[in-house]
């Protein structure tokens, strides 16, 4: 099958603007007048028709564009816990289960076609629904419960689903008399929840995913388009053959304005703009910095031949385990059994024979301690100054989200693309305070 050519009707002069629109849509599933930033909607809307066509032809995605919002409805091939970055409060902390559940319940209270609703009324409607769920509940006297509501409402406000017309959420959180009055945007509320199939018809989490035996080309395109790195080792033979095909990744690079990096182990679309991602790397912030420095240390250890090799669970095994955990949690009593779907069947995962360099936990801890000694604890920001091991865990999770390492019991496996960043090691200063740009060996000999 011929590859549908991306951005076929776009003039070269407009290509940059089109690619920016593609990146915006893929980085933000929902774009409204003020989310993620004012002005974004205006940059995307002129391209909406072309975007919808390209994303449909290439990936099977649906792009719903109105003058007030743009919503990308993806087809999912796997579950990804790290995408929880979407559900964060204003301070950037990920939602816990209580907040996620409250979000659902608050949205469910908007079912009635009221245009205006006060926070007190929302909570009044939320309370019985929360009490009905074992282990959730809502108690106005409990600070954490109120804080969760504040986070959820803030999330909805950020996405224009709600707009404050009077009062404030802070006033409500502070005192019993305080309240806030919202205008509800039902269109956006309706656009927020777009599961692949009705949730109450699903007997398992696999129902949210695409059929793994569907057309391989679209599946591979989705992976290349959305994942930091696609390794051949994670693909079935058919998909791997499609990925090796000339033109597929290059076409997507044309679509997104990225650079194709093709290696023996896999393919990656590299994003020079630094914005086509929810985890900017290399990027600013203590976490990205620590992760980068850690990669430098790991590269040193690799060069020094100090690492033994080990095999870890494959992608498919991890997915299967995640699905199994979620399947056990399906609430049976609210399931519409009579309408249950046939869930797509995933092949039982084969054990990966591939071995990768293993960095053991004690070595990682030693590395982070070295970093603290070399750069000074203060340079890792106030949040992590006294918590090197916390920073280590966060950095490893960050690298794992980027598919540069894979956590296994006792340490992490280094994935091939990680060594792209081996140069970071040269940033380490030498004892005389000079930067050893041409002296990797000197840096390694550091204590």
């Amino acid at each position: 099958m011929a590859e549908p050519r991306a951005a076929a009707d776009v003039a070269d002069a407009d290509l940059g603007s089109y690619q920016a629109a593609v990146r915006l849509v893929l980085s933000h599933g929902l774009i409204t007048a003020r989310h993620p930033r004012p002005g974004i909607l205006d940059r995307v809307l002129p391209w909406a028709d072309l975007l919808a066509r390209d994303l449909r032809d290439l990936c099977g995605y649906t792009l719903v564009a109105t003058t007030r919002q743009v919503r990308l409805v993806r087809r999912l091939d796997g579950l990804d816990p790290s995408r929880g970055r979407v559900f964060v409060n204003r301070a950037g902390r990920a939602f816990d289960r209580r907040r996620l559940a409250y979000l659902c319940l608050v949205l469910s209270t908007f079912q009635r076609s009221r245009v205006e609703v006060s926070l007190t009324d929302i909570v009044r409607a939320l309370t019985p629904a929360a009490q009905a769920i074992d282990g959730l509940g809502y108690d106005p006297l409990q600070g954490p419960h109120k804080a969760a509501v504040v986070d959820v409402v803030g999330w909805l406000l950020d996405r224009d689903a709600l707009a404050v017309s009077d009062g404030s959420v802070e006033a409500w959180a502070r005192s019993a008399e305080g309240d806030a009055l919202f205008d509800v945007d039902h269109d956006i509320c309706a656009a927020l929840l777009r599961p692949a199939r009705p949730l109450q018809h699903l007997t398992g989490a696999a129902g949210l995913l695409e059929d793994p035996h569907g057309p391989a080309a679209a599946r591979v395109r989705r992976m290349v388009l959305e994942r930091p790195v696609v390794y051949y080792a994670d693909l079935d033979p058919e998909a791997a053959a499609v990925l090796r095909r000339d033109g597929l990744a290059e076409n997507l690079a044309r679509l997104t304005g990225t650079v194709v990096e093709r290696r023996a182990e896999g393919v990656s679309l590299i994003d020079p703009s630094g914005s086509f991602t929810d985890r900017p790397f290399p990027g600013r912030g203590a976490l990205a910095r620590a992760a980068g420095l850690l990669l430098g240390k790991v590269a040193d250890a690799l060069d020094g031949g100090m690492l033994r090799r080990a095999a870890g669970p494959s992608d498919a095994e991890e997915q299967a385990a995640l699905r199994a955990r979620l399947d056990k949690a399906v609430p049976e009593d609210t399931l519409a059994r009579g309408m249950a779907w046939d869930l797509p069947r995933f092949a039982s995962p084969e054990v990966s024979a591939e071995t990768l360099p293993l960095v053991e936990r004690h070595r990682l801890e030693q590395m982070v301690q070295e970093l603290y000694t070399e750069f000074g604890a203060d340079s890792f920001t106030a949040a992590w100054r006294a918590d090197p091991l916390g920073l280590l865990d966060a950095s490893l999770a960050f690298l794992s989200d980027l598919r540069l390492v894979r956590p296994v019991p006792g340490g992490v496996l280094v994935l091939p693309a990680a060594v792209r960043y081996r140069n970071i090691t040269q940033a380490l200063p030498t004892p005389d305070g000079q930067i050893g740009l041409f002296a990797g060996a000197t840096a390694q000999e550091q204590p």
Binding site: G29, R74, L79, D80, P81, R83, G84, F87, F95, R97, A101, Y102, C104, L105, Q111, R112, S113, V115, I133, D134, A190, L193, R194, P195, P198, L199, H201, A205, L208, L209, L225, E226, V229, V260, E261, E265, I270, D271, P272, F276, P282, G283, R284, A286, G292, L293, L322, R325, L326, A329, L335, F375, L404, P416, V419, R420, Y421, I424, A427, P429
Partner: protein, 512 residues
């Protein structure tokens, strides 16, 4: 008779106290209210046969008659029926009289019983209840036809007022009054009923869906008509006003036949009605009239209906209610074994996520062979500053401007002073010439700056400097080739200018 409540308006007929009137409805609160209602229905049926005063036996027989047609009608006889009738009489719904018809025999006379008759207000209470019970919510509508009648009546009213036809004025005014009342009543009922439908469709979405098209079309047509008639109605009201409101009201009051009202009261009554009527069609000071409010209410109703449709069609598509779907998801999320699983579920269910990509591209990607392993390819060149120092590469964000007005004023003052000194020095240079005297500090500074400018702007022809000029806003300095160069004495030394003569003039002089 009670006094006070009736006032001067009536003869006391209306003076039954509020408490007494409310007592008329007491039968609906009694046990077996349905039984009482059927008794009243029986009496009403007899009343329609012109049997005004009825005995217990007659009521019993009409109840038997009714129970053949209606299953729920009770068969009441004898003592029980009489108790009921007496209770109704006690409530004031019925009057109880002794049977005054001739008994004819002693036995009959001894057994003479009471007869019952509706009281006027009692009958009203009864019809009220019947009306309520029989009310059909489906017959509500917004009457479009009223507009053309209203328009015609308004025009006729203006004509009648001009021609001095008092009876016609009264007739048209009464009709208008009725029409407006009817419109108000209808629109209120329509919107109330619509509100009820919108708020109860969880129970019966089918009912709503069945009528949605007719409903939307009805509201849209109504709004179209409203738009069309609004300017004409406004115009017609103004025409009536031009024909003289006071005259019109006087004529109406004169032609008014209500005998129980005094002339002044009639006038006041009509004035009030006209004011109400006018406010329906002509915008007040706040720019709103009854009709425009009806318009906006209808528009709101249309959007409510559409919102409801949206929800219903959503539910229809998946066969499950969205709200219950969300509650189901909430419960699933809470039962998830760990936060990771919960996040995986939430992002998949909401279908919200972001693409994720690595940054830092090779400058010369083509030079690395596709078959090379990542393990063997060189590292990518990236800005190391962020890793080294924790600060971003590049100049960083602009710093905020500090609004230090005191310091700024001082700087400004100094600048002005310096500038003034410089101007003075430049003038002195031009007036006194640079040669043959020792220059001051300020003069030297001006001279050197002008010299620099002149030398930078110089024209070099075949290796020799021909001439040059330098100027500021006060003076111009020229370097002229000369056999003997000029010598300028400046503080702390002497400036030799071999081969050049200095000329300094003020600009005004040059232009002049």
């Amino acid at each position: 008779m009670n006094e006070g409540t009736g006032g001067p308006r009536g003869w006391g007929l209306d003076s039954l106290a509020v408490g007494d009137r409310l007592r008329l409805l007491q039968f609906v609160r009694r046990d077996e209210a349905g039984g009482y209602l059927w008794v009243l229905r029986g009496i009403d049926r007899l009343r329609s046969r012109h049997r005004v005063q009825v005995g217990v036996d007659e009521v019993a027989s009409v109840l038997r008659e009714l129970s053949e047609g209606y299953e729920e009608a009770p068969r009441l006889e004898g003592v029980l029926l009489r108790e009921r009738l007496d209770s109704l009489a006690a409530d004031g719904l019925l009057h109880r009289h002794d049977d005054v018809s001739r008994a004819g025999s002693l036995a009959g006379y001894r057994n003479r019983q009471s007869v019952y008759q509706f009281s006027e207000l009692g009958y009203r209470a009864y019809t009220l209840v019947e009306e309520l019970l029989g009310a059909q919510v489906h017959d509500v509508n917004l009457s479009r036809l009223a507009f053309s009648d209203v328009l015609e009546d308004l025009r006729a009213l203006a004509r009648a007022n001009r021609s001095g036809d008092g009876r016609q004025v009264l007739r048209r005014l009464s009709r208008l009054d009725e029409a407006v009342k009817d419109m108000g009543r209808r629109s209120a009922r329509f919107h109330v009923t619509l509100g009820e439908i919108v708020s109860m469709t969880d129970a019966s979405p089918e009912l709503f869906l069945r009528y949605k098209n007719a409903l939307l079309a009805h509201m849209r047509d109504f709004m179209d008509d409203l738009d069309r008639y609004l300017p004409r109605l406004d115009q017609a009201v103004r025409e009536v006003e031009e024909s003289g409101v006071y005259t019109m009201l006087t004529r109406a009051a004169e032609a008014d036949e209500r005998p129980l009202l005094e002339a002044g009261a009639r006038m006041a009554d009509w004035e009030q009605r006209w004011r109400g009527l006018r406010s329906w069609f002509v915008a007040g000071t706040d720019g709103r009239s009854g009709v425009t409010e009806l318009h906006s209410a209808t528009r709101t109703a249309v959007s409510a209906v559409i919102a409801l449709l949206r929800q219903l069609s959503e539910a229809g598509r998946s066969g499950v209610n969205r709200a219950s779907e969300l509650r189901h998801l909430a419960s699933w999320l809470v039962r998830a074994p760990d936060e990771d699983a919960a996040h995986a579920l939430a992002t998949a269910a909401f279908n919200l996520s972001s693409a994720r990509h690595l940054g830092g591209a090779y400058d010369d990607e083509e030079r690395i062979d596709e078959g090379t392993r990542w393990w063997d390819s060189p590292g990518v060149e990236i800005a190391l500053t962020p890793f080294r120092t924790g600060r971003p590469a590049g100049p960083g964000a602009p710093q905020p401007v500090r609004a230090d007005t005191g310091a700024r004023a001082e700087l400004r003052r100094r600048q002005v002073a310096e500038r003034a000194a410089e101007r003075a020095a430049a003038r002195a240079l031009a007036d006194d010439g640079p040669v043959g005297r020792e220059l001051g500090e300020d003069e030297t500074r001006v001279l050197l700056r002008l010299l620099t400018k002149a030398l930078e702007a110089r024209t070099v022809i075949s290796g020799r400097l021909s001439s040059g000029t330098g100027a500021d806003d006060i003076v111009v300095l020229r370097l002229r080739p000369a056999e003997t160069g000029d010598i300028v004495r400046i503080p702390g030394g002497t400036l030799h200018l071999p081969g050049f003569a200095l000329e300094i003039e003020t600009l005004e002089r040059t232009r002049g």
